[in-house]
């Protein structure tokens, strides 16, 4: 039973991420005897031809720039050299040494920003997932207004990022914002008007905005996943006398596991690399408590004009994300295999 439900979720991670680990042979198999040689040749190259456009664009827009970026990280690319950066001196790994020298101020600032980002991402992903799951479970049964409610819930995700974040910035203003009006003037929860866009609270302001924006995505994906859970499972469980909570634990959550594996990963990567939200909310210089790594790197390269250092930090960040993602996929996939 478990095996079947686990298999009914969105199956993409196996297929694409791990490149079809253990997948059954599909469709046309290369090497199958063909009638004509030219036909076989054509069949052989066909998948490559189909991939070509995607490959070209990926090379042009993602991979080539990344390699250029990695090369830049080995150079002293300060404002003296940006005009003709082939003239920038090679400094080997010095930019990396500076970035990871946690006793020195630059390294310490990077570490601090990294830790803030990790804490922020864990909270943001956790909360978005939780809200998404709760809402998806509550909206599993039909009730009046469900369709409308679903549409409403999806609005934050559908809004363009900058439009939504600017609205939040407007609401978070200390003297004239809606948030303080609500907390201080309407509900009298606080005596002092707190700041949200500067100082320590900016962390919570940012968290609110990001969760507001990303929980609908979790909701959407999980709702899709729940539609695939056969009703009979619940009916059988209900007849067996299982309560709501037991049904959720025994049926809903296990069926969602394959979806969760992907969802959490995607949310993690998007949140960790989010640039627009903190940038629109705080501008070029984010408060220390909300100094997410993307803003920090932006400042280290574009504002202080040291692209070598900025690239080195980006490469480190990329390596970190690669390791975490690979580790995450290995661990979660193994657990699923073991469960099955």
């Amino acid at each position: 039973m478990t095996q079947r439900t686990a298999g009914t979720g969105v199956r993409r991670p196996d297929v694409a991420m791990a490149g079809g680990r253990g997948g059954a042979p599909k469709g046309a198999r290369p090497g199958r005897p063909r009638r004509r040689v030219s036909g076989r040749l054509r069949r052989g190259v066909l998948p490559y031809l189909l991939l070509l456009p995607a490959l070209c664009f990926e090379l042009l827009v993602h991979l080539a720039p990344m390699i250029v970026g990695a090369v830049m990280s080995l150079r002293e690319l300060t404002l003296f050299f940006i005009r003709d950066w082939s003239g920038a001196p090679w400094v080997g790994l010095r930019n990396y040494q500076v970035a990871v020298d946690f006793d020195a101020p630059l390294g310490r600032a990077l570490l601090q920003s990294f830790l803030v980002t990790v804490a922020f991402t864990v909270l943001a992903v956790g909360l978005s997932w939780l809200l998404g799951t709760v809402a998806a479970i509550f909206m599993q049964d039909r009730f009046r207004g469900r369709g409308t409610l679903r549409a409403i819930f999806l609005v934050p995700y559908a809004l363009p990022v900058y439009a939504a974040v600017m609205t939040w910035a407007f609401m978070f203003q200390r003297d004239t914002g809606m948030v303080n009006d609500l907390l201080v003037d309407q509900l009298h929860l606080l005596d002092e008007r707190p700041f949200w866009l500067i100082g320590g609270n900016s962390f919570w302001a940012l968290l609110t905005v990001v969760v507001w924006r990303s929980w609908p995505f979790a909701f959407l994906i999980l709702m899709a996943g729940l539609q695939a859970v056969p009703r009979e499972l619940y009916e059988a469980a209900a007849i067996d006398g299982a309560g709501v909570w037991r049904q959720v634990r025994r049926i809903t959550l296990p069926s969602l596991r394959p979806i969760n594996q992907v969802l959490v990963l995607v949310l993690f990567l998007w949140t960790f690399n989010d640039f627009t939200t903190p940038f629109v909310l705080f501008g070029k210089s984010a408060p220390a408590s909300a100094d997410l790594i993307s803003i920090h790197i932006y400042q280290s390269s574009f504002v202080t004009w040291d692209f070598g250092a900025g690239s080195a930090m980006s490469v480190l960040l990329l390596l970190f994300l690669l390791v975490v993602t690979a580790g995450y996929l290995v661990v979660t996939s193994r657990r699923r295999t073991a469960d099955a």
Binding site: L52, P53, A64, I82, W85, L106, F195, I198, S285, W305
Partner: protein
């Protein structure tokens, strides 16, 4: 049946592969251009104007007829783009990196040395300078803000601005204060008298990086602090600098003459507060147009130089403003160098200087144009005086833009602390400034 699309695909791939190879190869070779600019496109120019008026559209309306005049005189068509301040430095950076930029552009004059160091701008040596009318036409202090000391200017001044202390005449009269403050001690005393209920003595743009760094510089000068030593090395956390920065933040933290809410101002809300009577004083660069736009009448405000300490601290200078303003520069990668020079000459001609500076309520850095009676209103007289006698250029070092970002950012944090009621001690100020200095990186 499907060979056609596929072979097309293959051709696309071959073309793209060639492009990528080219791109990486030429990227590795850099985008170097012959120094000084070429002349192979003599009929057109691209001009990036900075945003001087209320909106980008307003600037376009102001500049378009002037550019038409230029086209009539020279036959050169100028393509205008007004670049918002938020994008301008990044756009210049991108243009410098790629060699693909405008022919002529406006720069904040405080960036002059930084941009000079990139080598992306045409240097105004004597010959080039003569082509736009000669050194003698320009106000010396403005020209000193157009490049590193001892080097040829990298731009010429276009609009000059200075900081002044704006005060609300009615508020002062109501509080029984007969004259605007000349010393900080007086300003604080007046500020306390003026601070009542919703109204505060002074409005501060506490989260604005450039405003903060400008005030840090002026306070620094007054307290004998130089943020860069003679060799151009950063020294942000000298005792003098700490005293200076603390004195500025204390206006909110200790003296409480600025509203705590000012700590998050970065979109010119302080201007608005002053115009709407929520604050009685404001330190700002040529605010007349903005104040009028915000509904204040010219006779409601007065403007005087920014105060000085009553007892001049050791090493302190009589500086009340930086030499603020906009310079006009020529990109080295221009393909119409002669046309660009003609255009710079046109923009700095007496007539254009009068028209444009009148519209923007700035001062012409061109001496003959200053004689125009339009620049002799009481406000403009004050600013002329400040620029002539008590204004100093921001440090003209390559790292100036980093200084603005880092010190301005440190002050933003300090204001946030002050607003939250945390005490602003010397240690706290020093640690912030030290951190800012250390982030200047290995380049310094």
């Amino acid at each position: 049946m499907h060979t056609h699309p596929l072979s097309r695909l293959r051709r696309t791939w071959a073309a793209t592969a060639a492009l990528i190879a080219l791109a990486t190869a030429s990227a590795a070779c850099g985008g170097g251009t012959p120094t000084g600019g070429a002349n192979d496109a003599p009929k057109t120019l691209t001009y990036w104007a900075s945003n001087q008026g209320a909106t980008l559209e307003f600037d376009k309306e102001v500049l378009t007829p002037e550019l038409a005049k230029f086209e009539q005189q020279t036959g050169i068509k100028v393509k205008l783009e007004v670049v918002p301040w938020t994008d301008l430095l990044n756009r210049i950076l991108a243009a410098t990196t790629s060699g693909q930029g405008p022919d002529v552009l406006n720069i904040g004059n405080t960036w002059s040395a930084s941009l000079q160091a990139t080598g992306g701008l045409v240097q105004f040596d004597t010959k080039t300078m003569d082509a736009v009318g000669g050194k003698a036409r320009f106000l010396p202090s403005a020209l000193a803000s157009a490049g590193a000391p001892g080097k040829d200017p990298t731009a010429v001044p276009l609009y000059s601005l200075a900081y002044g202390l704006y005060y609300n005449k009615k508020h002062f009269a109501d509080a029984g204060i007969d004259k605007p403050p000349a010393t900080w001690e007086e300003l604080i005393e007046d500020g306390k008298k003026l601070t009542k209920g919703d109204r505060h003595g002074l409005a501060i743009e506490g989260a604005s990086i450039p405003e903060n760094s400008h005030h840090a510089f002026v306070f620094g000068q007054q307290y004998g602090a130089d943020f860069f030593d003679a060799a151009g090395k950063p020294q942000f956390d000298t005792p003098q600098a700490v005293t200076a920065v603390k004195a500025y933040v204390d206006l909110m933290a200790r003296d409480k003459i600025a509203a705590p809410g000012n700590a998050e101002y970065s979109a010119n809300q302080s201007l608005k507060d002053f115009a709407t009577g929520k604050a009685s004083m404001l330190m700002w660069q040529s605010a007349a147009t903005s104040l009028a736009n915000l509904g204040m009448k010219p006779d409601e405000w007065g403007v005087v130089p920014v105060p000085l300490p009553a007892q001049p601290p050791p090493g302190g200078k009589k500086v009340t403003s930086l030499v603020a303003g906009i310079n006009i520069a020529i990109f080295k990668s221009t393909r119409n160098r002669d046309g660009a020079l003609k255009f710079v000459k046109f923009m700095t001609s007496d007539e254009e200087q009068k028209t444009l500076n009148k519209t923007y309520k700035s001062l012409p850095p061109v001496l003959p144009a200053q004689q125009d009676p339009a620049f002799s209103t009481p406000d403009q007289q004050t600013f002329k005086q400040i620029l002539a006698s008590s204004a100093a250029p921001l440090p003209m070092v390559p790292q100036e833009s980093q200084f603005e970002t880092l010190v301005g950012g440190a002050l933003k944090d300090l204001f946030a602390d002050a607003a939250a009621g945390r005490p602003i001690t010397e240690e706290r100020v020093k640690s912030k400034l030290t951190a800012a200095q250390q982030r200047m990186g290995q380049g310094g």
